[in-house]
Assembly symmetry: C2
Homo-oligomer: 301 residues x 2
C-alpha cells in the first residue's frame, strides 16, 4: 500500500497548508479519500495519474473535506474521461454535485455513480477480489464516516520445481496458488503446504477524520496495519475538542493503542501550533509508533 | 482604480495557471470579480485584505468562474466575519451556496445577500455615491454577464486662497467642491469655476468574460478606460470560438476599438498555446493599447 498525503490541515486552505485529501494505492486501485478545495492541483503537483481514480470516499460534508470534488469532476469532464466514477459519501453529496452540473449545463460523458451513506453501523461499501472497504462511523458535528481498506489474501507462492518433481500437471498451478490441495499425475493427493509458501502479507489502512474520541471504533480497527487518526488539537485544548468534536494527539494515540494498530499517522492539524513536533511527542506518551502526515509526504507499507 | 489579477486562465486550475478571479479596488471598495477554485489562497498569496470584500460579482456558473466561492464564504465564517456579503450572480447561485451551508450545518454569522441576475438587458446592480456597477449581457453557453464599474465624479479642487480672497465663508467650501455657485459675505454670487478646478478624472473598468464576439455590448462599453475582454483562442482556432462561445484575441481587440476603450486587457487564455505573446500581437493588428493579464499582475489606472 502506498499512501500519498495531498493535504492534512484542518479548516481552511492556505498557501502552504492544504485541507484533507489523500490517495491510497493498493492492488491496482487508486482510491481518493476526501477532496478539499484545490485537491486537483495537488494531484497534478504530486504527479499522481489522477484519471485512474475510480473511487472517491468522502468522510463528511464539511468543506475542508469535499469542496474540491466538483472541480475534480469538472476537470475529468474536460479531459474527456469516459470511465465510471464511484463516489461514496454522506447523503446530500449527490444533490450538491448534480445541482452544480445542471446549472452549468455540463453533464459528464462518464457515469457518476453515487453511493450515499446514512447508516450509523459499519458497512461494507466496496469489494472486489483484491480489496474491501468498510465504513467506520465517527462522532463529529455532522454525519461522518472513516474508511478501512483491507487487502484480501495474496496468492500463495508456488515452488514450481517441487511441484514438477511431485509430478503435478501445470494446469493445477493456479489452484495451488489459491491454496487448494490437488491430485498429481500418479493420482496422489498433494497437500497444498507441500508445494507452496505463504504469499505477501495483506495490509490494512484505516482513515479516521474528523472525529471526537470514540472508543466504539476500536473493534473495527482491530490489528490494523496503519491508522490515520485526526489530531486537530493538543491536550491543552481538549476543551475545544469537546466543543468541536475533534481529537487530541493523545486521544488518537489511545485509539491506536487499544486497536493494536502497528503504526499511527497523525493529521488534520489546527494551524494554531507553530510546528508538528508537539503532536508527535504528545502521542508518543501513549503509543510508540507515531508518524506525522505532511502535505506531499508518501508512506509505503 | 487598481486591478489585481488572481487568475486569468480558462478551464481548469493548474499549478501555475489559476482560473478566473480578480479584485478591483476603487473608491474604498474591494470588489471581487469571479472566484475560481483556489481563489482564497490567491487572495492570501497576494496579501489582499480579503475580509474587506463586501461585494462579489459572478459572471456565470461555469466552475472556473465560481467553484472557489463556497470555500471563501466558509473561510469568512471561520474568521468570524460579521459584515454583510453581497453576491451578484446568475439565478441558481443562491441555491448552490445555501444547499452546501445547510448540509454542512454551517450557517454564517454574517448576512449573505444574494442579488440573483436573470435579465437579458444591461441593468444597474450596485450604486452608492462613489461607484456604479451595471451588467453587460454576454453571449456564452450558459447565462452570463460582464460588469462595468464606473466611478462617479470626484469633488472639484478648491483654490482655498482664492476663495478666502473672494470673501467666501468656509461653510460654503463643501458646496463649492460639489460644483455649486455660492454667495459670498458681500452678497455677490461667485461662480464655481472662479474658485475651483476639475477634480480627478473618474475612471471606468469593464469585465467581459466569457463571451463569443458580441457587438451589441459596444454601446455599454463606450469610452471605457479599461476593458478586460476574454481571448480564449487565437484566430487559428476561430472555429472553436463558434462551438464554445469564446472569443479570439482579434475579436477582443475589435470590441475595444469599436467601443473606443483606452486600454484593452486580454485574459481567459486557453493553455494550449506556448506563451501569451501571440495573443498580444494578434490583438495589436486591430487595437494599439493591448495589455496581457497574468496571474498575480496588478494594473493601476
Amino acid at each position: 500500500m502506498k499512501l500519498s498525503i495531498l493535504g492534512c490541515y484542518s479548516a481552511t486552505p492556505r498557501i502552504i497548508a492544504h485541507t484533507t485529501s489523500q490517495v491510497l494505492e493498493t492492488r491496482g486501485h487508486l482510491f481518493l479519500i476526501d477532496c478539499g478545495e484545490g485537491t486537483q492541483v495537488e494531484l497534478r503537483r504530486h504527479k499522481i495519474k489522477f484519471n485512474q481514480i475510480k473511487h472517491v470516499f468522502i468522510s463528511h460534508l464539511h468543506g475542508d473535506h469535499y469542496f474540491g470534488l466538483i472541480g475534480l469532476i469538472s476537470t475529468f469532464r474536460l479531459l474527456t474521461r469516459e470511465t465510471d466514477l464511484h463516489i461514496y459519501g454522506p447523503k446530500g453529496l449527490k444533490e450538491i454535485i448534480t445541482l452544480q452540473l445542471k446549472l452549468s449545463n455540463s453533464w459528464t460523458n462518464f457515469k457518476l455513480i453515487f453511493h450515499e451513506l446514512s447508516s450509523k453501523e459499519s458497512e461494507l461499501i466496496f469489494e472486489d477480489d483484491k480489496v474491501s472497504v468498510h465504513t467506520i462511523p465517527l462522532d463529529h458535528r455532522v454525519y461522518t464516516n472513516g474508511f478501512i481498506f483491507k487487502e484480501k489474501p495474496f496468492e500463495r507462492k508456488l515452488d514450481i520445481e517441487k511441484a514438477k518433481a511431485l509430478n503435478i500437471d501445470k494446469a493445477y498451478f493456479r489452484k495451488l496458488k489459491q491454496g487448494a490441495d490437488v491430485v498429481n499425475e500418479d493420482d496422489e493427493v498433494i497437500e497444498n503446504s507441500a508445494v507452496t509458501l505463504d504469499g505477501k502479507q495483506p495490509k490494512s489502512y484505516a482513515f479516521c477524520s474528523d472525529t471526537a474520541y470514540k472508543e466504539d471504533i476500536v473493534p473495527i480497527l482491530k490489528d490494523v496495519d496503519v491508522l490515520y487518526h485526526e489530531s486537530t488539537f493538543l491536550e491543552d485544548h481538549e476543551h475545544l475538542c469537546v466543543k468541536t468534536k475533534h481529537s487530541t494527539a493523545k486521544q488518537a494515540a489511545t485509539i491506536a493503542l487499544k486497536a493494536n494498530a502497528k503504526h499511527l499517522i497523525l493529521g488534520h492539524y489546527s494551524t494554531r501550533y507553530g510546528g508538528l513536533e508537539g503532536f508527535k511527542s504528545e502521542a508518543e506518551t501513549v503509543f510508540s509508533d507515531v508518524l506525522l502526515a505532511e502535505d506531499g509526504k508518501t508512506f509505503t507499507f
